[in-house]
Each structure stands twice: as C-alpha cells, then as structure tokens.
Symmetry: C2
Amino acid sequence: MKTNHSTLGLLTASVFAILFLMGCQNQDSEKDDEQQAIFPKGEPGPAQNFTGKAWALGLVNNDSTYQTVVGNVYFEPGARSNWHIHPAGQILIITAGVGYHQLKGQPRQTIKKGDVVQCPPNVMHWHGATPDSGLHQMYILPNTEKGIVKWLHPVSDEEYNTPNPGE
Amino acid sequence: MKTNHSTLGLLTASVFAILFLMGCQNQDSEKDDEQQAIFPKGEPGPAQNFTGKAWALGLVNNDSTYQTVVGNVYFEPGARSNWHIHPAGQILIITAGVGYHQLKGQPRQTIKKGDVVQCPPNVMHWHGATPDSGLHQMYILPNTEKGIVKWLHPVSDEEYNTPNPGE
C-alpha cells in the first residue's frame, strides 16, 4: 500500500511535468495565431479571383477625399490570388504569417510578418500564403482615380510551386 | 522511508501542477507584448513634435509612383504628437495597444487595436497613447503631391486629459 502511494505520487509528478512542458509550447502556438490577427477575417474572397480560401475585409472604402482603398486579406495555407493588375500600383504590409509574392517575369518572393511589398502600376502580380502557413496582409491601393484592379487568370500549381533559386 | 517517498511524490506533483497553471498565464502576458509589435521601434520621434517618447519607422518613402507615405509609430504610455495638419489627410491603422485621437473641436476618441481612424485634409488633430498603455499605429499619408504634414504646438496636459463624456 505504501509502495503504491509513492509510485502514484511519482507518476502524478511526471504527468504534470510533461503537461507543464507541453502546455508552455502549445500556449505559444495557439496564442500566436490569435494574437497575430489584427482584424476579423471578413468575407470569403470571390472564388473566381482566388485559388484556395482567402478572406477579405475592407478597411477604407474608395472616396474622393483620400482616393485610397485599404483592406486586409487572410490567405489560408495554399491559397493565392489570381494574376492581376493595379493601374496605380499596390502596397502590401505583411502583418502575420508567411507567403509569396511574384511580379510577372521575376522569381517568386517569400514574404513574412513585417515585410513591405510594392507592386508598380500596371505590372501583373499575384500573392498568397505558402502551402504550410497562412498569410495576413494589409493592402493599400493609392490614387484610385486611375483605377483599382483588373483581375486575370488563376496562378497555376506549377507557377505557385516554382521555387526562387535565390532563396 | 516509504511514507517519505509518497509524501515527496505528492509534493512534487503539487509543485508541477502549480507551475503548469502559472506557466500558462505568464506565457500569455509576455507573448502579448512581443507578438503585438509587427515592426521594430525605429528611431525616436523629434522632441519638438512630440510630448513623451514616440518611436517612428518609415515603411514607404514618398515618391512619384505611389505618392503615398506609410510609416509606423509606437507611442509609449503618456506620449502624444503635437497638434498638426495633413494637407491630404491621414489614415491610421491601430495594430496594438490603446490610445487617443482628437480632431480639433471634437471630443477625444479612444482608439485600440483593429481600429481605422481617418483625419480629413487640413483638419488639426493629434494622436498618442493613453497614460497607461502604449499605442502601435501605422499611418498612411495619401496624395503627397498636396503636401505631407505641418507641425503645430504641443498638446497640453489639460487637452490630453480631458475625457470624452460620451465614452
């Protein structure tokens, strides 16, 4: 009976030790996802403009005062926009996660939290998450009197998966 | 001896149980501060334009392509900008913390993570942290061909501390 008590005590201690170590690690990763998101997800992006699941939230609508559209997009892992063009260019601010951005004719760039990405006017580009990580990005579309966006064709799996030899 | 073993085992289990519960809670608050900041602090804002400590990081410089300036400011608790004017207005995106924003002639507004704040062209305003919380904010200055900023006088303690009766 006394032997059973000491064994039980040691087993219990071991279980809590393991839980403690696991709990610290799990809290980090769970809190990461929750803390990283500044904005609610918003609405699903139109299926004809995205491959995979993307969620879009408008933050500043177009008007004559600022002539600037601002929004937030969350790309689930594997999701990306179609190729598209912005007549006045676009600025992306990556607020969480890891993703890709590619300008037509240039290698795919890996982008991550804290990065600022600029796409010049009238240059085809796409952006999205990596296969393994979601991407939270704000976008800024300036000078909307020149136009906002022209959506084009989807990004093929080959294009999406072609690595950048320089990375 | 056997009694000591079982007591030791139970004590050890209790210690790990307490550590587990404390560890979970402490990880949350420490990670909060670290995770909230998307960008490095940058450089101290010029003392003549701020009361208290503010840190500024440029993200997108002015140029003829985008005519949009983007940056990030971290206000330490109690810090605020002077009164100032933007000829083309300003858009603020609050990414972490709690702060204040006031347009001349209107009550002080409390602003927090996830808020989007717009200041119209040529309207005096100020913004900053609360006395108890820092504020992380991105700013967007559109249409820079109209001008960027005109700095004015400091925000007095009375102005800073006058509550909004509607909040």
